[in-house]
Amino acid sequence: MSEEQKDKETKLERTNNVSEPQSEESVKPDTEVPTDTAAEAETGSSPTANAPASTGADKPMRAPLTEEEKAARVQAAAEARAARAKAAAEGGEGSAEAPADKPARTRDKAEGDAAGEEKPERPARAPRAKANEEPPKPKEPSPKQPLLDRLVAMLKADVAEDAVEDAVINYENDHLPTVTIKNEHWLSCAHQLRGHLEWSCEYLRNLSGVDQETHLEVVYHMINLSTKAEVAVHVKVDREAPTVASVTPIWPTADWNEREAYDLLGIQFTGHPDLRRIMMPDDWVGHPLRKDYESLDSEV
């Protein structure tokens, strides 16, 4: 009997334990979660809007770090997220700081989510966690890093010294080497990527146009089917005069994809054999996938 009771008690305890955090969760109004995380995002993961503010707030915290640690952190962070931070920091201020801050923050955030109760403590803990966690990262360079280095070296040597604006490894996406190539050098770089013996990326698997608000972008994903060497290429395009070289003569598969990017984003592909709308009607006004698109006929 007493054992049974004990059992019951322990069960009760267990269920209490289980239900407590749950009920807390469910009691929380729906709106609170978004605001909570939105606040996190404000301080952390959206450098676009807050890069200058956040770097200002951080400076006192980072003071106790040694120069070595700082350097290691900057390097690690730059490798992981340089591409994004660069886009965000284009406004000017804090271009050096921004990449260093971001990955550390996102890691903290993930940690905080896992251990729910520790949330309020995070601001105090954050700098220590940063210092502890950042250095190991450069010790495990991506297996694709040499590939990326060779690619950059090849493009610099064979095309132009300033052809590559940025080169990062996209860790989440199976360590995909990602390079940003200067618009005016894109055609020669494409020829190299297709024709160079080591790369010969003969299969252009995807082409997407992106409106990054400050500029437009064309993203190419290509692969060599036999070596499985895969590369993603970003080419920035000016928003006001959006022109970029067409790669249809190199990869015929780009034809309709470029027409689609022209149709939906208004990117002019120079050298395209037949650049006209493909999805929208021929007399359509505007390019719907642009972020500031407003339809001509408000009733549509």
């Binding site: 969760e25 979660v33 978004p34 995380t37 995002a41 993961s45 959206s46 676009t48 997220r81 994004r84 971001k102 996102t106 989510d113 996209n170 989440e172 996406n173 995909l176 003969e202 299969y203 252009l204 698997r205 995807n206 997407s208 992106v210 409106d211 993203v219 994903h221 089917l225 499985k228 993603a232 990869w251 015929p252 598969t253 034809d255 309709w256 994809n257 939906l264 709308r277 493909i278 999805m279 929208m280 009607p281 719907p288 996938l289």
Partner: protein, 366 residues
């Protein structure tokens, strides 16, 4: 002297052979096509634009409507991309269920292709057989998630519904039945002389052309290029199963036909192994945050759909909605080679070649 005049012929947008609203304007010199211009967009719904204001879970039903003959694989490519971005672990039972429905979907999708292709060419009865057998799969899906075509079955982190009691047994019973049927199909059609005369050597291209045009699926493998994402870039649980990737030699419509017939058998083979290893119990949803908000970054995920490489390119800015979502639709990319193939062919071969590409217009236009 006989003077011939060029004839401009409009095929579609409403034409039985396009299985949707798709139009080709062809210039004819007698019976021979001199130029073909595909016109599309009649089914463009702006999925990518709509997605920018929807949460990731809300986008899943939109993917059902892209390739509506193969909605399960479309579901998968989206949730797979998001899961990769957020490093979410999927419970084994959920992943098995996903793989089983994806392979069943491949069988169902190939059956639609088989039936309608032969219907286009002029054989009526295979269509009825194919749809009779496909109906069994549709019923299985209906039992699983309550819809016949637009399933909305997968979620980020797992699947929405567990298999009802007895469902797995029903799938198990279906496999030997389908094997028998496939033999019947072969006897009925694959060696038929009229059929062979219609498709052998028609619409042929070589491997180099196929790769340059970015073809995928049976359209690529018919030239002998060994490229199947289930083998070459394994996702889900495909690395646990034994199956072969059928390859063609001549790159013509007949090879594409044979490959798809063999793929049906290989899918059944995968299903047999999957059912054997299917965990008898377990969770169907992994640990997923309440609001799905992938970290800032970009991701190009791709899988092998029945029509080829379907890809999902997501740019996230850390919000609950994607900043940009682009689908690489195999039907759209595969169709590009059509104008090149049609030049010099006769009008009757237009139907044979278009059918051999295996397009779904909902996916062409997106």
């Amino acid at each position: 002297m006989i003077r011939t005049e060029e004839l401009l012929l409009n095929v579609g947008p409403q034409h039985p052979s396009t299985h949707g609203v798709f139009r080709i304007v062809v210039k004819l010199d007698g019976e021979v096509i001199t130029e073909a211009t595909p016109v599309m967009g009649y089914l463009h719904r702006g999925t990518e634009k709509l997605a920018e204001s929807l949460s990731y879970t809300q986008i899943i039903p939109y993917t059902d409507r892209m390739d509506y003959v193969s909605a399960m694989t479309n579901n998968y490519v989206l949730v797979h991309a998001v899961e990769k971005m957020m490093s979410i672990e999927i419970p084994e039972r959920a992943e098995f269920l996903r793989l089983i429905v994806m392979e069943l979907q491949r069988v169902a999708s190939h059956l639609v292709w088989w039936g309608t292709y032969l219907l286009d060419i002029g054989a009526m009865s295979p269509f009825l057989y194919a749809f009779r057998d496909r109906e069994i799969i549709i019923d299985l899906f209906n039992e699983l998630c309550g819809a016949r075509l637009t399933y909305n079955y997968m979620r980020v982190g797992g699947v929405k519904w567990d298999a009802p009691p007895g469902w797995i047994d029903k799938v198990r019973e279906f496999l030997p039945y389908m094997r028998k049927r496939l033999n019947e199909y072969d006897k009925l059609v694959s060696g038929n002389e009229i059929f062979l005369a219609r498709i052998k050597g028609v619409g042929a291209y070589d491997a180099e052309t196929a790769i340059a045009y970015g073809l995928s699926g049976a359209n690529l493998r018919c030239t002998g290029v060994n490229w199947d994402l289930r083998k070459d870039e394994p996702y889900s649980l495909y690395d646990r199963f034994e199956f072969d990737v059928p390859l063609g030699v001549n790159g013509d419509c007949y090879d594409r036909y044979l490959i798809r017939m063999e793929e049906l058998r290989q899918s059944l083979r995968i299903l047999e192994q999957a059912l054997e290893q299917f965990p008898s119990e377990g969770e169907t949803m992994g640990k997923v945050p309440r609001v799905i908000r992938p970290p800032a970054g970009e991701m190009y995920a791709r899988i092998e759909s029945p029509r080829g490489e379907i890809g999902c390119y997501i740019i996230s800015k850390g919000k609950a909605e994607p900043y940009r979502l682009k689908f690489r639709r195999p039907s759209f990319v595969n169709l590009q080679i059509l104008p090149k193939l049609l030049v010099g062919e006769t009008m009757t071969n237009l139907i044979t070649i278009l059918g051999g590409v295996d397009i779904v217009v909902g996916e062409v236009d997106c």
